[in-house]
């Protein structure tokens, strides 16, 4: 057992060195850690520990109550639909912006960032007005019996708005690096346009598209401001999970808010992990 005890002897001074280093940290590290601990770690741990003060059966009952289940359903399915639609539209938009020249292209390119910069309350307000029954676009849809504001379609619209730039901005740089010559080679070898698209253009873009969709999805799942204004926030219809947490807090139901908040936090952490894996995949593809 000498081989195993030998490294252990070496490890203990290294560990002590680590502590000594920690005490001698530069001021930059100290500020960083202090800020992260106060602003991020303690609040996150507080949320987890708070939900652990409830009994497991209680947690399960709150987390899977019919209202909560329907809120997850509305949140995740709508966010997924928004992700898929924006996956297509974002890919086309990135393609158009990288490959084609047309008037006002630079302004349109810059305007893609609007959902990043526009406060969500404003987005919700103006979408709700434009798509209401008396609004510019909403009134055109009334004859077809389509209502958008104050329905689940409104939730979808708000999620489309806020997640769109994520896809465009992740695909654009990758598309810029794809060499046109590869496509030309495929054409000259007799591939049709459709074949060239599916076999040559799309594969290297896939990691970026999926990363963008995942980023947009994660953002849409957590979105509150624009959705709360455009939706009617009625349970089992268009109530999303973040609004449900808010309503629970308003009713001083801290246990309910904490459990559903923990579920949402765990899902965000999983999404963050998935996005990191997708990005690692994209980098490997790039090499």
């Amino acid at each position: 057992m000498t081989p195993s005890s030998l490294p252990q002897q070496n490890r203990s001074p290294a560990w002590a060195n680590g502590i000594r280093k920690g005490l001698q940290m530069s001021w930059a590290w100290r500020v960083t850690w202090f800020y992260l601990i106060v602003m991020l770690f303690i609040p996150t741990i507080a949320l987890f520990l708070r939900s652990l003060t409830l009994s497991p059966s209680e947690i399960w009952r709150i987390a899977t109550s019919p209202t909560a289940l329907s809120a997850y359903n509305v949140t995740f399915l709508t966010a997924l639909a928004a992700g898929v639609i924006n996956g297509f539209m974002g890919l086309i938009a990135a393609w158009v912006l990288v490959r084609y020249e047309f008037p006002f292209k630079r302004i349109i390119d810059a305007a893609i960032d609007l959902p990043f910069a526009l406060p969500t309350a404003v987005a919700g307000l103006t979408l709700a007005t434009v798509y209401s029954e008396r609004g510019w676009i909403g009134s055109l849809l009334v004859p077809f019996g389509i209502k958008i504001s104050f329905t689940r379609l409104g939730v979808l619209l708000a999620m489309l708005f806020i997640s769109f730039p994520f896809i465009v901005r992740t695909v654009q740089p990758v598309l810029q690096e794809v060499e046109k010559e590869v496509e030309e080679a495929a054409w000259s070898l007799g591939a049709t346009q459709v074949q060239t698209f599916w076999r040559v253009i799309l594969p290297p873009l896939m990691p970026a598209v999926l990363t963008g969709v995942a980023l947009g999805f994660a953002r849409a799942v957590g979105e509150y401001g624009s959705v709360v204004i455009i939706a009617s926030n009625i349970p089992f219809q268009d109530l999303i999970a973040p609004v449900l947490i808010f309503q629970r807090l308003e009713q001083y139901d801290y246990a309910g808010a904490t459990v559903i908040g923990t579920v949402m936090l765990l899902i965000s952490l999983l999404m963050l992990l998935a996005i990191n894996l997708l990005q690692a995949w994209g980098r490997r593809y790039g090499n």
Partner: protein, 295 residues
């Protein structure tokens, strides 16, 4: 050059089919551009124009009238306070974190630390607000201590500042880390060998070369701090005239059927967004110019 020659030879025979292709590509190009513009019009342009039309459509009267309302003035004031506190603090943190991370290339958990700093972007703002309520609220961890000392954080300005700081925490660090990594350590080391103190090195050598990255981060932090809604709504209690920022004012006015008021606040926030986007475009131009030189 040598590779170019055979391709030119190859291109000669199928000239007819390539001409056909250009024609169909043009058609494809026009329809793709049309689809994108239509989609952007539906979800971005028409809603954006609507903000301005609704705010100024009935003349300047309702717009100016809202400016005289005390609740509105308070909301503007409080929004400025949010930015005035959280932007400098988050910039200080961002600079320290970027410095610490960019200058230590190898330590265990470096990648993890970078994703932890990004955490506020993936957490729902409502969950962020909830965390702050669970810490500083009446039944929270620090609740009894705060109550004993008569400090009010939840349903008051300090809690709203904490929520704003949480959601806008990553921007500066995120923008500055890549810039610091790119400029390398040579200049710093030169400054140190020439006898500069750490502080002098920072002000005279490092800051000038990262200033555009920092400014970019500050602009994004400011936009988020002034525009945050969800997290601030949870902790504020939305007390009219006391804990209402502009985004909260927008929602409240809309719910009270005070559409002119809602759109007056909305148009101010939309102008903030436009300023943010224009400065972003200008700065990207500058930073991309610099990075091209760097390569």
């Amino acid at each position: 050059m040598a590779i170019d020659a055979p391709r030119k030879l190859d291109q000669a025979p199928p000239s007819k089919s390539s001409a056909q292709q250009t024609k169909s590509v043009d058609w494809l190009k026009v329809s793709l551009i049309a689809i994108v513009l239509l989609y952007l019009a539906l979800i971005l342009f028409i809603p954006a124009i609507n903000v301005f039309v609704q705010a100024f459509g009935r003349g300047l009267g309702p717009f100016l009238h809202t400016f005289t309302e005390r609740t509105f003035i308070n909301a503007v004031r409080l929004t400025l306070i949010m930015a005035a506190i959280s932007v400098p603090l988050n910039t200080l943190f961002g600079l320290c974190a970027a410095w610490a991370i960019a200058r230590n290339k190898r330590f265990p958990g470096r990648a993890l630390l970078i994703s932890i700093i990004d955490l506020p972007f993936s957490v729902s703002p409502v969950v962020a607000g909830l965390m702050i309520v669970l810490l500083y609220g009446r039944n929270g961890w620090f609740g009894p201590f705060l109550e004993a000392n008569n400090i009010k954080i939840i349903f008051a300005v300090p809690g709203m500042v904490l929520a704003t700081m949480f959601v806008s925490l990553p921007f500066v660090a995120r923008e500055v880390i890549p810039v610091l990594e790119e400029i390398g350590t040579e200049q710093e080391e030169a400054a140190k060998t020439l006898g500069a103190t750490e502080w002098q090195t920072f002000w005279r050598v490092i800051l000038p070369s990262i200033k555009w990255g920092v400014l970019y981060g500050v602009i994004l932090t400011n936009a988020r701090a002034m525009g945050e809604f969800g997290a601030v709504a949870v902790v504020s209690g939305n007390i009219v005239g006391r804990t209402q920022t502009l985004p909260l004012f927008v929602e409240e006015a809309y719910k009270q059927y005070n559409t002119p008021g809602a759109y007056t606040a909305a148009v101010l926030l939309a102008c903030l967004a436009v300023v943010t986007m224009v400065s972003k475009a200008l700065l990207e131009h500058r930073t991309s110019g610099r990075s091209r030189v760097g390569h």
